[in-house]
């Protein structure tokens, strides 16, 4: 598993978003959430581990900064709900942490780093279904790289990034990776 991006002879990597871009994108998403949910009333931000959970906390921070409201934040691990489990060895589970008041009757904004096939979001919807009954579910993503395989779309998008399927999009965040960046990796020989 690639845990850190590196450019070697075979792969070409290009940063498509740098720290300030990410900062601006999240700020915009925070504003959009406030607008579309009438001041984030009864909103719960639920990130998909690992980086989605980090992004959810950052968005919550901005909302608190702009409006002085503490939006409940949580995380929901979707590993056990994935439909591609059998394509790879069993992987470690992420942390699920729901806000104390749960999600019942709330507007849940799911947060993920990259929206691609939509399968992770589908798994997240299933997982959410097992922990409660939200009033509505919305989706925020830092990068939408296209190539959807399910009828899923994001309500809040940091950046639309046209990619080919042979490329990889990797998100680095300060909290987990030591720096903020979104990197497009082109694999040679394909």
């Amino acid at each position: 598993m690639v845990t850190f991006f590196m450019s070697d002879a075979r792969n070409q990597a290009r940063a498509v978003l740098e720290g300030p871009d990410i900062h601006r994108a999240l700020t915009r998403i925070a504003h959009e959430i406030l607008e579309r949910t009438r001041g984030a009333e009864s909103v719960v931000l639920i990130g998909i581990p690992t980086r989605g959970a980090t992004l959810a906390r950052r968005i919550a921070g901005r909302i608190a900064q702009f409006e002085g409201i503490e939006v409940p934040v949580g995380a929901i691990d979707v590993t056990m709900y994935r439909d591609d489990l059998r394509l790879r060895p069993a992987r470690p589970l992420g942390r699920t942490e729901l806000p104390p008041d749960g999600v019942d009757g709330r507007t849940v904004v799911l947060v993920d780093d990259v929206l691609y096939s939509g399968r992770t979001v589908r798994a997240a919807l299933d997982a959410l279904n097992d922990v409660g009954r939200p009033r509505a579910v919305q989706l925020a993503t830092l990068v939408d790289r296209g190539h959807r395989e399910l009828p899923i779309r994001a309500d809040y998008v940091g950046k639309n990034l046209p990619t080919s399927k042979s490329e990889k999009v990797k998100v680095f965040l300060e909290e987990t990776d030591g720096r903020d960046a979104v990197v497009l990796i082109k694999e040679d020989g394909r």
Binding site: M80, A90, P92, T96
Partner: protein, 311 residues
């Protein structure tokens, strides 16, 4: 690659921690109202039990069902050996049923190893003779970590019939891998010859070990052993190696008391100790389901097992 969980000796430190960490996450699932996960939908887990062990079988069954696996209980009570179908023929039957995993409890040491040579699925050892009981050791380690926050550097005393105990063997290997210091405490008759080659300390003196222990794990002692002259009487055993109120009082304040069950109250453990707040006996049962879920998930959840020993 085909992998199994037959001995805790096959688990690397990373494997063992992955199981415990996975169990930790799964424990949260057990606390919510919908406990079921869709992860193993379409997978078949066979519980092949040659020995009566309702608690272990139910624990595995609950674990598999919470992961949405299909569960087939195959109770082959009594011996396949003396009469009826051989283990190999049973294995071939299970193979035909498409078992993705076989959880086996068997009176003969090594039966899971043999089974693993005859079936394609993963084999999970649910206790074989006097050899090993790896999921028990994993749930013990899990319970200790939950109570004391760590395993590294902890002093664990395992007390009782080590010679005939599969729980002791699995625990010595696993706890050593995880950095705990194990001391086996037993009368010399109930320790195997060559036990000094195990990665642990040995003592015949419970009282000397007691004050330093962070964890005291009491093993079940069967009264039949008395007839084979392993010890003179239940009373003498209990006096020298039982965890009674007086000994309990000499444990340090954070120490926990464990027992894999079923307990002989009044023999190796007194009732008040078993029921005390520092006893993990009840949570060990709950943790059993969680740990077994973790094991089944890591063996069956992916394209290939993420843990365990190869055959």
């Amino acid at each position: 690659m085909k992998r199994h969980l037959i001995s805790t000796g096959d688990l690397t430190r990373d494997d063992a921690l992955l199981i415990l960490d996975t169990a930790e996450e799964l424990a949260r699932v057990s606390e919510r109202s919908i406990k079921k996960l869709p992860t193993l939908r379409g997978r078949t887990v066979v519980n092949l039990f040659y020995e009566d062990s309702t608690r272990t079988r139910i624990s595995f069954e609950a674990a598999a069902k919470r992961l949405s696996a299909d569960v087939i209980n195959f109770s082959a009570r009594g011996s396949s050996v003396s009469k009826g179908e051989s283990l190999k023929d049973t294995a071939l039957t299970l193979e035909a049923m498409g078992a993705d995993a076989v959880v086996i409890r068997h009176g003969a040491s090594g039966a899971p190893h043999r089974l693993a040579t005859w079936v394609r699925g993963s084999v999970v050892n649910a206790g074989d003779g006097t050899h090993e009981h790896p999921t028990q050791a994993l749930l013990d380690a899990f319970s200790i970590r939950r109570r004391l926050g760590r395993l590294e550097g902890l002093k664990v005393a395992i007390v009782g019939d080590v010679l005939h105990s599969r729980v002791a063997r699995s625990n010595v290997l696993l706890l050593h891998t995880l950095g705990a210091e194990v001391t086996l405490v037993a009368p010399p008759t109930l320790l195997p010859v060559a036990v000094e080659t195990w990665p642990c300390q040995i003592s015949y003196d419970f009282d000397a070990v007691l004050p330093k222990a962070d964890v005291v794990m009491m093993l079940r002692v069967q009264l039949e052993r008395m007839n084979a002259a392993y010890f003179p009487s239940a009373r003498e055993y209990s006096r020298r190696y039982g965890l009674d109120r007086d000994r309990f009082a000499r444990l340090h304040d954070d120490a926990v008391v464990m027992h894999p069950g079923p307990m002989n109250r009044g023999m190796e453990i007194s009732a008040e100790v078993a029921d005390s707040a520092r006893s993990t006996v009840v949570e060990q049962v709950a943790n059993g389901v969680t740990v077994r879920m973790a094991v089944l998930y890591l063996l069956l959840g992916g394209s290939e097992p993420a843990i365990g020993g190869a055959e």
